[in-house]
């Protein structure tokens, strides 16, 4: 059994094949010519380095050294695409990532595929033939629908010949037949359209035994008109194939139509990442997102919520989702009512058949619910997390943790800062400190009061808020355990700069500053009190900033070791628009203002970061950034930034996504500005 490794440590080994560049894309074809995949051309370097010798981390480093930049998300998706389509010899070693869903990498324990026909090619594509054949199929299918009985299946003709089992068998047989006919048409269309057909396989599944054609040649098509015609023709083929049944038996025809409708509903599902759905998305979306459709299999529902998609395209997709869900609900209810009516009628005469039908319907309901849940789950994460946090706080309020000295000591040593202290020093600190429990809504620190203690949040959540004349009350950050705060008191007994309020019942350790000053002087490592305060500031940032709080400890250590702190006064320029990007910045304290063409566009507060766009896009600074209050900024040089990104693909993709979202917002905010060519420079 192979060992699963994370994306960073995965060393991809490609199956032998050929790289064929074609404009903005490249085609990778296996040596035997049986498989093809279309990828962005800039992935050529990564493909040639996929020898099994280098891990993804090393590949990224090599590409970065060569090109000075790379798009992490494209690389991430390319490697997963190669794995899902069976182009990697060691693909099974790559751990499934929560960010990746693919229709090609599902566990197919319910199905078995046997190859029937291998790759076939025509001398050249015959697009004109495809065009007329496609149009003819669509026209005839629509014509056949005119004869369709309505409703296609009634309660009377579902239980054919009085036997429900027979009806179920008919459904199974028709499904197999119609799927096979659809696959054969698909194959013909693919051959005419692309000159390629990558094989037919016999699929044995509980819902039928049928021939199945792959969609691979369709990736080669870029013409949307042909793609739409291909999809329309293949989706409607089962209706055309059912037409002759009308002459034989109207009951059979009713069954076939019911199956066709069921199949159509599944094919039109916006919850899938099917090629059809991608084409629909590319038509309904505007502008840039159009270009993604051919390659990147974005989850449709997630894409709908993406801040990058424009609102108008969102509305159209939203309408599609609503119409689909309503139609699906109506169709399911109608179909289930017919089936259940038939099943309940037979309880007395044939209990086994009735049980069988009930089982099928229940399975169908569970399958649909599971599918919807799978796609809805990303939407549910946040509300569920909130409910979980609420429940946890209730449980804690009801049964708080007893903070024994050992437990407190363990909690303190979790903080890298306290790990510098020896055990006797820590014991001394604990002896002089006090554990306080604060009820939700109570104020722990009041703005303006003189600070004489430092605090460690052991349990619960705290809000840091500041009141000012011009801005009123603003929330600066949320503190989560285990974190240190109130560090300004270490150097001098100065006024507190903000209020700290408990959001829920919380436990804090109150350490008198004189004890800490003594410990800091005694400590072998922390000799300088200023360095000690800086360390607390950094620690607080990495435990509280929403974007960085989940980073592994060694990454945090890497970032802190390779960065420098800057204490800045208000109105200081940190970066200037148009200058060369040399650093990445994190806001540890205070706030900065982003200005484009000297116009303020947004503020980035404590816990945020900036300066990533120039580094990830390898362009000069797109905006100026100026401090608006006393701030502490952590600066990391571009080389170190890239080294850390290369080692943490998830962090890289996250920073990249934030940068892209900021650029998109910028574009939307400035849509009434002059033409792009005028803006440049």
């Amino acid at each position: 059994m192979s060992i699963m490794v994370s994306f960073d440590n995965f060393a991809p080994r490609l199956r032998k094949g050929r790289v064929i560049p074609q404009g903005r894309r490249l085609i990778y074809e296996t040596e035997d010519g049986e498989k093809q995949i279309v990828l962005p051309i800039e992935m050529a370097d990564a493909i040639l380095l996929a020898t099994g010798k280098y891990t993804m981390r090393q590949i990224i480093e090599k590409i970065f050294k060569l090109k000075g930049s790379l798009h992490f998300r494209t690389l991430f998706k390319t490697i997963h695409q190669l794995r899902d389509h069976g182009f990697l010899e060691n693909g099974e070693e790559l751990e499934s990532h929560s960010w990746w869903t693919s229709p090609y990498h599902e566990q197919k324990s319910w199905t078995m595929d046997l190859t029937v026909v291998r790759r076939k090619t025509l001398r050249r594509p015959r697009t004109l033939h495809f065009y007329f054949l496609g149009l003819a199929v669509v026209a005839l299918s629509l014509l056949s629908m005119l004869d369709m009985p309505w409703p296609p299946l009634s309660k009377q003709n579902f239980a054919m010949n009085g036997s429900l089992m027979w009806s179920v068998l008919i459904c199974w047989a028709f499904n197999s037949l119609l799927q096979t006919i659809q696959s054969l048409f698909k194959t013909v269309f693919q051959l005419l359209l692309t000159g390629n057909m990558f094989g037919l396989s016999l699929r044995i599944a509980p819902w039928g035994v049928y021939l199945r054609a792959t969609d691979e040649p369709i990736f080669l098509i870029t013409n949307r008109l042909f793609l739409m015609l291909y999809h329309a023709a293949t989706l409607l083929t089962p209706f055309l194939a059912s037409w002759p049944l009308q002459l034989l038996d109207s009951n059979y025809y009713s069954f076939a139509i019911a199956i066709c409708m069921g199949k159509l509903m599944i094919d039109l599902s916006p919850f899938t990442s099917s090629l059809f759905m991608q084409t629909v998305r590319s038509m309904l979306s505007l502008g840039q997102s159009d270009l993604i459709a051919g390659y990147l299999r974005e989850d449709s529902l997630l894409a709908l919520l993406s801040p990058v998609d424009r609102p108008s395209s969102n509305r159209r997709l939203h309408r599609y989702f609503t119409i689909y869900i309503l139609s699906w609900a109506a169709f399911s209810l109608w179909f289930c009512s017919i089936g259940l009516h038939g099943a309940s009628r037979q309880v007395a005469t044939d209990p086994w058949a009735s049980l069988f039908c009930w089982t099928i319907f229940c399975t169908a309901v569970v399958w649909i619910a599971a599918r919807v849940m799978r796609h809805m789950s990303p939407l549910m994460v946040k509300p569920m997390m909130r409910i979980f946090a609420l429940l946890r706080s209730w449980v804690r309020a009801w049964r708080p943790i007893k903070w024994t000295p050992e437990k407190t000591m363990n909690a303190l040593t979790e903080l890298p800062l306290f790990s510098y202290f020896s055990k006797p020093l820590l014991e001394m600190i604990l002896k002089e400190s006090q554990i306080n429990e604060i009820r939700g809504g109570s104020r722990l620190i009041t703005q303006g009061e003189i600070g004489r203690d430092l605090f460690v949040l052991l349990q619960g959540t705290l809000l840091v808020e500041r009141s000012s004349f011009d801005q009123g009350r603003t929330q600066l950050s949320i503190l989560r355990p285990v974190t240190i705060f109130g560090e300004t008191a270490i150097i001098e007994e100065s006024e507190r700069g903000a209020d700290v309020i408990a959001r829920e019942t919380s436990t804090v350790l109150k350490i008198p500053t004189h004890v800490l000053r003594f410990a800091a002087k005694e400590s072998q490592y922390v000799r300088e009190i200023e360095a000690f305060r800086n360390a607390i500031t950094v620690n607080q940032f990495f435990t509280s900033a929403p974007m960085f709080k989940d980073l592994p400890e060694d990454t945090v250590h890497d970032i802190t070791m390779r960065s420098s702190l800057r204490h800045l006064s208000p109105n200081e320029h940190i970066i200037r628009q148009g200058s060369q990007g040399r650093s990445f910045f994190m806001v540890l304290r205070g706030a900065v203002e982003v200005r484009i063409n000297e116009q303020p566009v947004k503020k980035i507060r404590q816990g945020g970061f900036f300066g990533e766009i120039a580094l990830i896009a390898d362009i000069p600074r797109t905006a100026s950034v100026v401090t608006v209050e006393n701030s502490v900024i952590m600066e990391m040089a571009a080389v170190n930034f890239w080294e850390i990104l290369c080692q943490n693909i998830e962090l890289a993709m996250f920073i990249e996504a934030v940068g892209e979202s900021r650029l998109s917002e910028d574009l939307m905010n400035n849509s009434d500005e002059p033409e792009p060519s005028e803006k440049a420079g």
Binding site: I41, E42, T51, Q288, Y295, D618, S677, E678, A680
Partner: protein, 252 residues
């Protein structure tokens, strides 16, 4: 009605490429590259659409160009050597001429004069920005190293790729020499006929490239770092005035 969803069937093509929401793509395609003094090299070729700098009706070779200034080759010391001194220049575009003043900002290798524009019309600035954009496509293109131990075999003679779908491919073919993709345009260079713009890669549909497109391609090629022998040959070939399609005023 221009954006009606059903019209998009004919309007746009689905292309396979990196995400169009990516930072480099957004920055580049929407002019967010707010650089002020980006420099690009110009090819040693007097194709249409490229500016010509003259001093007292003597034509000077341009090494590189930006909105802020230009580096000119001056083998015969026509221009001043002293820093901060002003030089009158004639900037000749295909459709007009402009008289400008420039300041000597630096002299290097005896022959290179770095001049800073003191006044440049808005129209010229816009035209130079377009050239800079084309050059910036080329500056990001690097050669793909064909590894011997790689299971993937490169089926072309040379492959060069940029960050966002730009690329240059050299073919070992009797007909096609190379294919350059910059932005959303693909220009195909042939051994015997004029460069062609690829309209439909699926059906191999092309049309002759316009002079403007050839000039853009030349600037893009001239700015590719560390050019190989083949790339240098291609540039030389395109810059040679004896090309039949050049002497007949492009292949249009």
């Amino acid at each position: 009605m221009g954006n009606a969803w059903w019209r998009r069937i004919w309007q746009k093509r689905i292309t396979v490429e990196s995400p169009a929401t990516s930072a480099p793509f957004l920055a580049r395609e929407h002019g967010l590259d707010r650089r002020l003094k980006a420099r690009v090299r110009l090819p040693a070729h007097n194709a249409d659409y490229l500016p010509i700098f003259k001093n007292s009706s003597r034509e000077l070779t341009v090494v590189d160009l930006s909105v802020g200034g230009v580096c000119l080759l001056d083998f015969q010391d026509f221009l001043l050597n002293h820093l901060s001194q002003t030089v009158p220049l004639t900037l000749q575009w295909p459709d007009r001429e402009e008289w400008i003043m420039a300041r000597v900002a630096g002299v290097s290798r005896h022959t290179h004069r770095h001049l800073q524009f003191l006044e440049l019309s808005e129209q010229s600035q816009k035209q130079i920005k377009v050239l800079v954009q084309m050059g910036s496509y080329g500056q990001k293109i690097t050669q793909v190293r064909d590894l011997k131990q790689s299971p993937a075999q490169l089926l072309v003679t040379e492959l060069w790729t940029g960050l966002q779908g730009d690329g240059l491919v050299f073919y070992d073919s009797a007909d096609t020499l190379a294919e350059l993709t910059m932005g959303l345009i693909t220009v195909r260079f042939h051994h015997s006929i004029a460069p062609q713009v690829v309209l439909d890669p699926d059906r191999n549909k092309t049309r002759p490239a316009l002079n403007k497109e050839i000039s853009d391609a030349l600037i893009c090629l001239a700015n590719i770092p560390e050019p190989s022998g083949r790339l240098k040959d291609l540039l030389l070939r395109l810059s040679t005035p004896t090309q039949p399609w050049l002497t007949t005023g492009s292949g249009v």
